[in-house]
């Protein structure tokens, strides 16, 4: 008996529609978030992540309405984020029905935000999202949807984030995101083995074998993917059956 490895579909939204890009650009419409949430809940997803990638102030009410509608469909945990800059932003998302909140750029600019959120909601509700890009033999933290480079190194930032109260790391490989060439095993293993909170690997999923690799070699606690689920390339159910056959612990519907 131990924790099941989680499979987490991610809905990147522009507020009300799900969109998908390659290497963080070239966005296209990928569906209705409420319909997708309902489907993933029924198919055995272990959790759902909804991100507001536009994260613009004027679209905020639309995003919160999306969270409310999505939460109403789910009997699994819901994580929401994108553009969370303050405790008030996070409160709005939690009140709309999210169980956890992700922070990214705002936490890099003001790390104290992580502690504020953790004190208010508990560390189990605070997810530090890190967008990492390879830079020689290390990984650099990127912000602002991957457009802005920082001086932070991903492993030390993840460690610092956990110390400040983040209960989970959502780790996206910008080199792999949207490429469908497999998760970044080296990046994920480096962070997961160093940090004493769960790590969700993201970016690059295509084949079931990619998930097996990231759980076994990458030491990921959970794996996140978007387009392969939205586009019906991979069903969550058959993915979990594949993993169970490989003796990887997953939650199969009873």
């Amino acid at each position: 008996m131990s924790l099941a490895h989680r499979i987490i579909p991610c809905l990147d939204t522009d507020g009300e529609r799900v969109v998908k890009g390659v290497n963080f650009v070239a966005l296209r419409d990928a569906g209705d978030p409420v319909a997708l949430a309902r489907r993933y809940n029924a198919e055995g997803a272990d959790e759902l992540v909804v991100l507001d990638i536009a994260a613009s102030r004027d679209r905020r009410p639309t995003f919160l309405e999306t969270i409310r509608k999505v939460a109403a469909e789910l009997a699994i945990p819901l994580t929401a984020g994108g553009g969370i800059r303050t405790l008030d932003d996070a409160r709005a998302v939690v009140r709309a029905g999210a169980d956890k909140v992700t922070v990214n750029t705002a936490a890099v600019l003001r790390p104290g935000l992580i502690s504020e959120l953790s004190e208010e909601f508990g560390s189990q509700a605070v997810v530090l999202a890190i967008d990492a890009k390879r830079d020689g033999d290390r990984w650099r933290v990127m912000t602002t949807g991957g457009r802005v480079s920082t001086d932070l190194e991903a492993t030390s930032w993840a460690t610092r984030g956990a110390e400040l109260g983040a209960g989970e790391i959502l780790l996206t490989s910008m080199d792999r995101d949207g490429t469908q060439s497999g998760f970044d095993v080296a990046l994920t293993a480096a962070i997961s083995k160093k940090v004493m909170v769960p790590v969700i690997a993201s970016g690059g999923a295509r084949w079931p074998q990619h998930f097996a690799e990231i759980f076994c070699e990458g030491a990921a606690d959970a794996a996140l993917a978007a387009s392969i689920f939205h586009d019906d390339i991979q069903s969550i159910r058959s993915l979990k059956e594949f993993l169970a056959d490989q003796k990887i612990q997953v939650r199969l519907p009873c």
């Binding site: 008996m1 131990s2 924790l3 099941a4 989680r6 809940n41 055995g44 272990d46 939460a71 109403a72 789910l74 009997a75 699994i76 945990p77 939690v94 029905g97 169980d99 004190e119 208010e120 909601f121 508990g122 560390s123 189990q124 509700a125 209960g167 989970e168 004493m196 909170v197 769960p198 606690d221 959970a222 939650r251 519907p253 009873c254």
Partner: protein, 205 residues
């Protein structure tokens, strides 16, 4: 029967409420001791910090009425922190007293494992659990916590109906007469969690 949810600002109240309503239960939110005194079934949700829950109960004057209702045999379901509150005290807020209804204290889970204990885990059920009735032994439940009540067979064998192992064995389901509590989140545990809530509603009816 109406299910009264204790509303002291817990983050998971809306999802617990929605899950109960989906099962056809009538619910109300209560936040006063008069509300607790009138309740015919009580649910104490909770997620986050133990201190926040206990302080809220004392701030709103709910402690006495809650203990009184539980002692009178009003069906009670505690979820996550709502389970922890039933015990003596917690490492998370050592200066505060719990409701002191059940023996045992809340401790931090082992530092040797990743914390929080976050995600889907299985439980080791003892015979005769009413909450787990009809649920497959291999079912998974959603946990999100760093503190738990370490299972002590000498003191807690009677009421503990299931344990979970993560850096040590802890109380996952406890049942004593009309007192029910779970460390996991049934409102987030898919079909298995729904069945737990259904079983509570049936026992409470």
């Amino acid at each position: 029967m109406k299910i009264s949810l204790l509303d002291y600002g817990a983050g998971n109240l809306p999802s617990v409420e929605r899950a109960l309503q989906r099962l056809g239960a009538q619910t109300e939110r209560i936040s006063t001791s008069a509300g607790v005194a009138k309740a015919s079934a009580l649910v104490l949700p909770g997620v986050g910090h133990y201190g926040a829950l206990i302080r809220a109960l004392d701030r709103d004057g709910l402690r006495e009425s809650l203990i009184d209702a539980i002692r009178r045999g009003v069906p009670f379901l505690g979820i996550c922190l709502g389970l922890q509150a039933l015990f003596q005290k917690s490492d998370e807020a050592p200066d505060l007293h719990g409701l002191e209804i059940l023996p045992g204290s809340v401790r931090v889970l082992s530092r040797a494992v990743k914390l929080p204990h976050m995600g889907w885990d299985q439980v080791q059920a003892k015979a005769g659990s009413r909450l787990l009735e009809g649920i497959d032994a291999a079912a998974y439940f959603y946990f999100a916590h760093s503190y738990a009540v370490p299972y002590c067979a000498e003191k807690q064998a009677l009421e503990t109906r299931a344990t979970c192992s993560y850096g040590g064995e802890f109380v996952a389901v406890t049942e004593k007469e009309k007192i029910f509590a779970v460390q996991f989140h049934p409102e987030k545990s898919g079909a298995a969690g729904q069945r737990v809530l259904e079983n509570f509603l049936r026992t409470a009816a």
